[in-house]
Point group: D3
Chain length 158, copies 6
């Protein structure tokens, strides 16, 4: 089980020791989407432009969730985030709300999980606010788009 | 904006007033998946059978997150959950870990968000534990499968 | 010290025993304000109407804080809130943002602290978002406006 | 909306990027008060001297709340506080409990919000412990008294 | 594994389904102690009588922790506690601080874990406040003293 | 009261000012145990080997609790832990589950409380999972085994 760093030699889960790793600048971008009926998406667009700002509420929920990642993901290291921003955009062609979160810190480990958590909770919040009109929405395509910094270097999704 | 119950007439977000609603039995089932490379999935299967139990850690993370749904999703009502169970299953044909969460309570509102949150955080935890070997994993297809109880009645996804 | 119910006969703090009290409908309204320079208030008004929605962010922060009251105020009973709404309104005559929160539950104790906590954290959030342009803002006049339900009955501030 | 740093050019809320800012020593002092009837204040004084220590409970609540500021105020950066102290003092002339909180850290942003949150939650706790005898108390005059460190330098309230 | 209710037939951990159980009155008492050097205990006694109230701080920490039990113990059901009280008493004969916590609720499951968590965190807080003078303290003898209510009925430790 | 650093000269509790202390490497090891009937311990051993992994769940609970130490222990400084590992081992001779937690960080204060909290919550979780078959279990012998780093230097329990 040498490949899974979150387990020790005996198979027990642990929070990986990063005591020896240098604190360097780290950045991550994650993306995801919520697929919904065209009428539902129309409500989102109407609300964002005028009142009933679904995307504004979801953005805030995602930002706050990013700060609580280490509380939610058991083996994640706590990190003092220095940046969280979330972009939510209706995509009428695909019938989705597209979500992108960017996180950064200076620390011994990366901030990928923080970006992915921000996207996930923003998506859950979009779902919550629209579920009274559309129970068939699907949250999907949540993935890492970019990661910079750290020993393993830069990763960019194809 | 009459259709979006989370906003009042002026467009301001609020936690919907459920004071008048009866406390009845509610149940929800949500599903989702984490798509990964076959080699990654093989590590999951090996670990679950022997040591390095990725799915056991993810299951616990999902259960704990379900209890914190109202802390994460801004306009969600706090609810004393009476049941949370999560099933995680490697699907070698599709190259995924399939996740299903079931939640229940007796209360004035439903537990769909709790089930969806459980699935999302379990999926994030699977990602976290495997990201050192596979950064290209994709969390997806998170949706409501079933909902019972309450005035709007039963919903089952097709 | 018979008058202070949060202490026992020996003076030790405790969470008052409400086991014998009936669960009845409770409602509370609290108010408060943030006083600021006219130019700062103008920024708030501009943002709310168009973009940069200070009051929308503060409203959400207050709603979420109401749900965490028992985590913040040591001797407060945990309560499943059934309603939280917050109104924030620029008052150009007085140079303030006026805040009013309404909370409700069906339970053995009241929801005054939840309403006051919602107002306080909404006010802190207004401060946070405007502090770069105005450090002299003052949060004040946070008080209970109304309380209904429970053995002590209705209270309305003069 | 260039003046409000918590919004980007499109008006979307974000957690300001402080990745480039140096970690320097920061300190803040905030103040506030709870106004109450003379008989209520007499109970506070009696309790503090002997048993039923209202101010001791409020002090602890404020210290703990300071550590959770970034959980409560949506766009606040998480910061490892290196100091929190809170002074609560009955002021019989003005009929108030006067509250002063001091916070410090070494980090890329200031600790004003932490000091203001400490004062606010200490005040809410004073209210909670005395509300059975005095529902007319008013929390007020919460403001920044001093701020040191960071690019914007020293600020002292007049 | 039929005896361990926290696991299903396949051995997977879950939060036991209590949906069918009636909400009845439940009460629990737990006890524990912190053993320390006589000089350390003398400091505690001195502080409690005059200033530097170690036991007062520990009592509050235990009360607050009881409310967060379901956040800490993974498979614990969330419960709205209706009573928490904690007694801390220096025992000079045994060289200990003796801790006893009582919790109550009306719900479908018991409050034993809440009482045990209250004792544990109160003990940790006693340790924290005295560790600068005595690193050899030992927290021990944490056990359930009494449990009332529910299908399994009354239990009293011998 | 000069000896108790968590109180100021007037006896008021505060979070000790560590602003001036250098951030150095810190490590702590804490230990504790849960004593139970031989039949109960047999269930633990059976489960760990096959399914129904009591110790795996307790380990995870302890790791997550370590990250929340500053939320639970009122005067504890928040610290970004760089390592948490927990070992749980059935000791059939003594009829106990033996628990050992190791924590580390680079910071201005030590991580003893984090290690002790990890042990305590792991022990509470063992209790929770086995309480249906054995209410007489006793959590005990929770103590600091080792501490390294900081001005006060190395401490090793005899």
């Amino acid at each position: 089980m040498a490949d899974l760093t979150h387990f020790d030699a005996s198979g027990a889960a642990h929070m990986v020791d990063v005591s020896e790793k240098a604190a360097t600048f780290r950045r991550a971008v994650a993306r995801g989407s919520v697929r919904m009926a065209p009428e539902t998406l129309a409500l989102v667009t109407a609300g964002t432009a005028a009142k009933g700002d679904v995307l504004g509420v979801a953005r805030l929920a995602g930002i706050m969730a990013a700060k609580r990642t280490a509380d939610l993901v058991p083996l994640c290291h706590p990190l003092p985030l220095t940046k969280v921003s979330i972009d939510l955009r209706p995509d009428h062609e695909n019938g989705t709300v597209e979500i992108e979160a960017t996180t950064a810190t200076t620390g011994p480990t990366g901030v990928e999980m923080e970006a992915l958590t921000a996207v996930s909770v923003a998506a859950l919040t979009v779902y919550d606010m629209l579920k009274a009109v559309d129970r068939g929405m699907v949250i999907g395509n949540i993935r890492l788009a970019l990661k910079e910094g750290g020993k393993s270097g830069r990763y960019e999704a194809k």
